[in-house]
């Protein structure tokens, strides 16, 4: 069973946002979805999450139709826009998420402590979210997405707005976590330096998959995008 299967998905608002997108991800894979702003990454994530209704095509998540409770139960999401309650403490935010996923109080407490320890936030657990830095908030969101032990982790621009060291630390942490727990990850980004040699990289441009391979070297990616945009302009 594939972890994620996207077949011929198209979606339009006033103009097309996705056009015939197809790819699948095998369990345990760490895949980058690389695309410039406006490429359609967030629309694709919203369709996978069931936040938007499918207009055309099919999406199966862990063998279930996208958006169904059975599919959502196995997924962890980190959205591009921060989705934390600023007026709650870190531990209260995580406890809320644990409750939404039906974890018992004792399980939730154990896992919250564990995740905050892993992400270096144990000392801040009783602080209000609004007092955290941007990088710390992002780490809380990733810890939250991992809390219910998802089999598929979907991260949409999870490092947006952070400085380079913070970005690197977060990417490494998620890679390590996925490897440790055997989780599958789809990491959407517009930052080519988040691609590492050997990563499977799917390039999304203007709503279409333009490339899908493992040997896109990080160093050549800015050129790759420049060429892609130039060829669009010429066309």
């Amino acid at each position: 069973m594939t972890a994620l299967e996207i077949r011929d998905v198209s979606h339009a608002y006033r103009k097309p946002a996705l056009r015939g997108v197809s790819f699948s991800i095998e369990p345990g894979d760490f895949v980058l979805l690389l695309g410039l702003n406006g490429a359609g990454k967030t629309t694709l994530f919203s369709l996978i999450a069931g936040l938007l209704g499918l207009q055309q095509g099919a999406i199966r998540v862990l063998g279930h139709e996208a958006g169904r409770s059975t599919a959502l139960a196995g997924c962890g999401f980190v959205f591009q826009q921060s989705a934390l309650d600023l007026d709650l403490t870190v531990v209260q935010s995580l406890r809320y998420h644990a409750a939404l996923h039906g974890l018992s109080r004792s399980d939730a407490r154990k896992r919250i402590e564990q995740e905050l320890e892993r992400f270096g936030l144990a000392a801040r657990m009783h602080d209000l979210v609004r007092t955290l830095s941007g990088g710390q908030r992002r780490r809380v969101e990733i810890a939250r997405a991992l809390l219910h032990r998802p089999r598929l982790l979907l991260l949409d621009e999870a490092t947006v707005g952070l400085d380079v060291p913070s970005r690197r630390a977060i990417v490494q942490r998620v890679r390590a976590q996925c490897a440790e727990e055997g989780a599958t990850a789809l990491w959407a980004t517009h930052l080519p330096d988040e691609v590492e040699p050997g990563d499977r990289t799917i390039v999304l441009h203007e709503g279409q998959v333009r490339d899908d391979r493992r040997d896109i070297a990080a160093a050549s990616l800015p050129d790759y995008f420049a060429r892609l945009i130039a060829s669009e302009m010429a066309a």
Binding site: Y13, R14, T42, T43, S46, A49, G50, L51, L52, G53, S69, T70, L72, A73, C75, F77, F79, Q81, S82, A83, L84, D85, L86, D87, L88, Q92, R95, Y96, H97, A98, A99, L100, H101, G102, L103, S104, R144
Partner: protein, 263 residues
């Protein structure tokens, strides 16, 4: 360790949503005082001023207390709507909507959490009214509880529906004023229907059809240990209809589609 049953997961989710609403409410203490000051101004100032001018068959303050309970619930319904629009704009709505339970259930939990938060506000107001001399029978406070919950659910469901129609947070203050004042004044909260029909038949008809009037009458009768069956049926039907429409709007992805299209 055995996997929790569907019911225990649903219950934990409900408790989690209620806990979050309470925590947010506790952090916004001014909200509690504002919700008390508003009806108290009506009771103490307007109630005293209009006591001799409006013939309601009972002391005017006594007449308007159920209407003012309705006012607390009406503002609470708008608060539910505001909080939904705020969560949508801030992104935290997505966390709720991607949790593995049916959307109708999640929205119902959210609605019930909002109503539970309103209960201390209503009873704090009733305690103040008691100190001011409005003293329904003691068991009336108990009988009023289901009526207050039902009225709160109806006004909260209307708030949820409203939140699905409002596109941006900035527009919400205007919408609130546009909804709250006509709904409150064109009702039986401040004057009985018989007095209204003597003055203006059209306005009386509007007040008779106004769902808020039914919520107020439901609470009024319950406070004195009676059931107004028309008000009860109207409130239940309105709650179900508003909730069904709100779930349909949220479930169809219309709301998020709009915000994504805009970005």
């Amino acid at each position: 360790m055995t996997a929790p049953s569907r019911y225990s997961r649903a219950l934990r989710c409900f408790i989690g949503i209620v806990e979050r609403e309470f925590l947010r409410f506790l952090r916004q203490r001014s909200r509690f005082f504002a919700s008390l000051v508003r009806p108290l101004v009506w009771l103490v100032i307007f109630g005293t001023g209009l006591r001799t001018m409006v013939d309601t068959g009972v002391a005017y303050e006594e007449y308007i207390v159920p209407g003012l309970v309705g006012l607390v619930l009406l503002f609470n319904g708008m608060q539910i709507a505001l909080s939904m629009v705020f969560d949508r704009e801030m992104g935290s709505m997505k966390v709720l909507l991607v949790s593995p339970l049916p959307r109708w259930y999640l929205l119902t939990c959210r609605l019930m959490a909002g109503v539970i938060v309103a209960l201390p506000q209503v009873y704090a107001f009733l305690a103040c009214a008691w100190l001011w001399g409005v003293r329904p029978p003691l068991n009336g406070y108990l009988y009023a509880l289901p009526a207050v919950i039902l009225a709160g659910l109806m006004l909260g469901a209307l708030g949820l529906l409203l939140s699905s129609l409002v596109e941006q947070l900035e527009n919400f203050a205007g919408v609130m004023n546009f909804v709250i004042f006509p709904v409150f004044f064109a009702s039986t909260a401040l004057y009985p229907l018989s007095r209204l029909s003597e003055a203006n038949a059209v306005l009386a008809e509007v007040a008779r059809l106004n769902p808020f009037s039914h919520a107020v009458e439901l609470v009024r009768f319950a406070l004195y240990g009676r059931i107004d069956s028309t008000a009860l049926v109207a409130t239940v039907v309105m709650t179900v209809v508003a909730m069904a429409l709100a779930v349909w709007r949220y479930d169809s992805g219309r709301i998020l589609r709009r915000s994504l299209a805009a970005s």
